[in-house]
């Protein structure tokens, strides 16, 4: 009996070691690919002047979709911020998703909105649209507001926006995100610079807005968050976007375009069925379906990412809200894997089936489970006195130093290319964060992920909680 247990133990140990090594090698590969991608972007960026596009009659039209639910606190400044975007041909579609506060009333009064008979074509099914508004003031002629019955999800609201979008590309953002004024120019650039592939989605780096300074919805000073929890998220975002997404983008394997900011090909999005309102990870789900549609219909597609930070979002600063957010994300991932499992290792879906899906399955979905079981086994072995402590500590140190290196490299790519943050102190502040991330932040992520999986398996009903934002203000 003890022989069998020992053999099983060895198999478990070896499997975990191989799993860990593959994961670390994948991160090493991503570090290398992201370096190439970021360098290529930075080099080329010097030669493409945005002002040429900003005044061109040939610029493709873009619709901005901004769903809003009970955003009365900041709605006016947020819409004003969107109206200042630098692009020659765009419209803003704001979707009031059945707000129970005065969001709609404020919009009507501030922007002189009146109801119009709009030819609404429900290409994607949504909750009913009550009314559609346009402004009588020519200064706001690019603004359109949809007032609809609450669909209990951002997906439903965004789908209503897609139904009225006039242009071939739409940018999906959250109304409370702060966008760089050149966001549309930057996002459409990869679409216009692709020779042989159809670019179906473009994403850009998101950053945490918590300690940044804003004036009338425009970012005036970028700072790493002062609070620890948002600062961990800033570091995580840099690693995820600048290293992860850019690395994947280099080999056309982007797994997700963030819901905070992304540009999409409207035709493919509609043909794929739009956002899934029952999904908890609707952004990733949509991209998966768009890629799937492209494969099924022999569309030679690509998904691109750019390393520039174009969007600032308020990160949860309390554990309660953070828990809710991450549980939802984990549940969304589990849902996605379940819904599209037939793409897993399916050569018919090319890189999507052979690279993106296996990576997400093994190293995103299974990682928290493997980590958790690993800790349990560790504790059991420790109780049984079967741990070789010097070796165990060495292995822990190995993972710890490697994690710090990968995060520091992503901060390096970010700093080499854009030199964000004004002072040295702020950069040092950020560079110190990875040392604590592994010890304090990572365990939280694992726990919340497991909670999300549990909710997925038990089918627990979950309400779409509001983020309880603090709002962005001007420095006093």
């Amino acid at each position: 009996m003890s022989g069998i247990l020992e053999t099983l133990g060895r198999i478990y140990e070896s499997t975990l070691f191989v799993y860990g090594m593959v994961l670390l090698l994948v991160y090493a590969m991503l570090a290398l690919l992201s370096m190439l991608a970021v360098r290529r972007y930075a080099k080329r960026d010097n030669y493409h002047q945005l002002d040429i596009l900003s005044s061109s009659p040939l610029a493709p039209g873009i619709t901005i979709l901004a769903p809003a639910f009970n955003e009365g606190l900041t709605i006016i400044s947020n819409v004003r911020s969107l109206l200042t975007l630098n692009y020659p041909r765009f419209e803003i579609v704001l979707i009031n998703d059945g707000s129970t506060d005065d969001t709609m009333q404020q919009l009507i009064e501030e922007f002189k909105m009146v109801t119009v008979d709009f030819a609404y074509n429900e290409k994607i099914r949504t909750q009913p649209v009550r009314k559609i508004y346009k402004s009588t003031d020519p200064a706001y002629s690019s603004l359109l507001v949809i007032d609809k019955i609450n669909g209990k999800s951002k997906a439903d609201a965004t789908n209503a926006g897609i139904n009225v979008a006039s242009f071939n590309y739409f940018v999906c953002t959250d109304v409370d995100c702060i966008l760089d004024k050149n966001t549309l120019l930057e996002l459409i650039k990869p679409v216009m610079q692709e020779a042989h592939k159809r670019v179906i989605a473009v994403g850009a780096t998101l950053r945490i807005a918590n300690s940044c300074e804003f004036d009338e919805g425009v970012m005036t000073r970028m700072r790493p968050p002062k609070q620890l929890l948002p600062r961990f998220q800033e570091v995580e975002y840099i690693r995820s976007f600048v290293l992860g997404k850019m690395g994947w983008s280099y080999i056309n394997c982007v797994p997700n375009v963030s819901g905070g900011l992304g540009l999409f090909d409207k035709e493919i999005a509609i043909r794929s069925g739009g956002y899934d309102h029952s999904s908890f990870g609707e952004d990733m789900e949509l991209l998966t379906r768009m890629c799937r549609y492209a494969h099924d219909n022999h569309v030679n597609y690509s998904v691109r990412y750019i390393p520039k930070s174009l969007c600032w979002t308020e990160a949860p600063s309390t554990l309660k809200i953070f828990n809710r957010q991450r549980t939802r994300w984990a549940r969304g991932l589990a849902q996605l894997m379940h819904a599209h499992f037939n793409m897993f290792l399916n050569p018919r879906y090319g890189k999507m089936g052979m690279i993106i899906f296996p990576f997400n399955f093994f190293f995103e979905l299974l990682a928290p489970i493997i980590e958790f079981t690993g800790i349990i086994v560790y504790i059991v072995l420790a109780v049984m006195g079967k741990i070789n402590w010097p070796y165990a500590l060495l292995l822990l140190l190995f993972v710890y130093t490697y994690a710090i290196m990968i995060t520091t490299i992503s901060i390096l790519w970010d700093q080499l290319t854009f030199r964000y943050y004004k002072t040295w102190k702020e950069v040092v502040y950020l560079c110190m964060t990875p040392f604590m991330e592994f010890l304090f932040y990572h365990p939280l992520i694992v726990i919340y992920a497991l909670r999300g999986y549990y909710y997925f398996l038990t089918g627990k009903k979950s309400a779409w909680g509001n983020m309880q934002r603090q709002g962005f203000g001007k420095k006093k």
Binding site: Y47, S56, A119, K134, S135, S166, Y391, M405
Partner: protein
């Protein structure tokens, strides 16, 4: 066998490594790599920020100096007020420029950059005088060196500098670059060729094999439409003969911009192309040129077209607004099963309102709920699209 002497203090570590299982050996190697990698990353961040800081400091010192010199010696040069002195032969006072550290390459580059910046913002004799300054300070030699470089970035820089300073380059030097495999170099060479070629600035349209990307088209459109004294050819030549679809599509946009009605027969001929995207572009072009003669052909071909071509035809009939095809638009509005076709038919009916008023009134009175909403949508001046 190589026998390496290990210092005494490292002996226990080496022994641990030597007798450890493979997993631990790998971990130990990775700990060293990760620690060194992290330190190296810190050093690189530090170095890059320090360099950036130094560069900002240098520029903060140099920019105002250069700007003052350019304003004093060039932009307010008294010869600009004299009509009888040809600007090209004016010898500028270069002595004050010797105060600048021009023996350093980076300083010369900054100066070139500032001259280009000023030149983009002035016209006429002032621009000519800035060109004189560039030549008299022999900054063109640096540009020439860049042009001969093997690095594409340098070549692009040189082409931008030559173009900005209106320096002529032999066609044989630029033309091969217009088909370079490197996208940025290719684009820069095309821009340079259009701006600098004295003979046939559009000749590269004949030889271009790579597709003109949408971004290239935006850049070329700007260069072509803003360059002064450029001989605009009849773009029908490429619409008829070019095998490069992106060139044809781009020429259609130029035809619209320059309202080149002589190109209409070539565009009508293009309606027969098998590529329906190109066909849609041609229909769009005919609509924007408002060619009433093309309407009949468009109506005849309508039923055999894919959806996006049909939409373009409806739009074209609206833009041309001859009033001759109101019945066709009405039929499409009433009987088409596709929402977008009905909407575009309604829009075009509204554009033909001067003759279709009665039809519109009749439709408003009799249309079903959805069609009525479409009509009201199209008639509402607050709704643009």
């Amino acid at each position: 066998m190589l026998d390496i002497q290990v210092p005494d203090f490292l002996e226990p570590v080496v022994n641990t490594f030597r007798y450890a299982p493979l997993a631990i050996q790998v971990a130990m190697v990775f700990i060293i790599i990760a620690s060194l990698g992290t330190l190296l990353a810190y050093y690189s961040i530090l170095r890059s920020r320090y360099r950036g800081y130094q560069r900002d400091k240098k520029l903060a010192f140099l920019h105002p100096k250069i700007d003052n010199l350019i304003i004093e010696e060039v932009l307010t040069n008294p010869t600009l007020l004299k009509d009888d002195v040809p600007v090209a032969h004016v010898q500028l006072n270069l002595e004050p420029f010797q105060e600048l550290p021009l023996h350093k390459k980076w300083a010369r580059e900054v100066l070139t950059e500032r001259i280009i910046h000023f030149r983009r913002n002035v016209r006429g004799n002032m621009g000519e005088l800035l060109r004189n300054l560039y030549l008299q300070l022999e900054l063109d030699k640096d540009t020439m060196k860049k042009m001969r470089s093997g690095h594409w970035e340098k070549k692009v820089q040189a082409l931008v500098e030559f173009t900005s300073m209106d320096m002529s380059i032999a066609d044989v030097t630029i033309l091969p670059l217009t088909n370079s495999r490197n996208r940025e170099l290719r684009a820069a060479a095309r821009h340079a060729y259009i701006k600098l070629s004295k003979n046939e600035p559009f000749k590269f349209f004949d030889v271009v094999t790579e597709p003109l990307l949408m971004w290239d088209q935006v850049e070329l459109f700007r260069i072509i439409t803003t360059t002064q004294n450029i001989a605009i050819p009849n773009f029908a030549r490429w619409i008829t003969y070019s095998a490069n679809k992106s060139v044809v599509s781009f020429c259609l946009k130029l035809v619209v911009h320059y309202n080149q009605l002589p190109a209409v027969p070539a565009i009508v001929k293009l309606l027969e192309t098998k590529d329906h995207y190109l066909r849609a572009d041609a229909i769009n072009c005919l609509g924007k040129l408002r060619v009433p003669d093309a309407e009949d052909k468009l109506i005849v071909m309508y039923s055999s077209q894919p959806l996006h071509c049909q939409i373009e035809i409806l739009k074209a009939v609206g833009r041309i607004s001859s009033g001759r095809h109101v019945d066709f638009l009405k039929q499409e509005f009433l009987h088409s099963t596709d929402f977008d076709l009905r909407k575009n038919a309604a829009k075009s009916l509204v554009k033909n309102e001067w003759t279709a008023k009665q039809v519109l009134e009749e439709l408003l009175a009799t249309a079903n709920a959805e069609n009525l909403r479409i009509l009201k949508h199209c008639m509402n001046p607050l709704i643009k699209y």
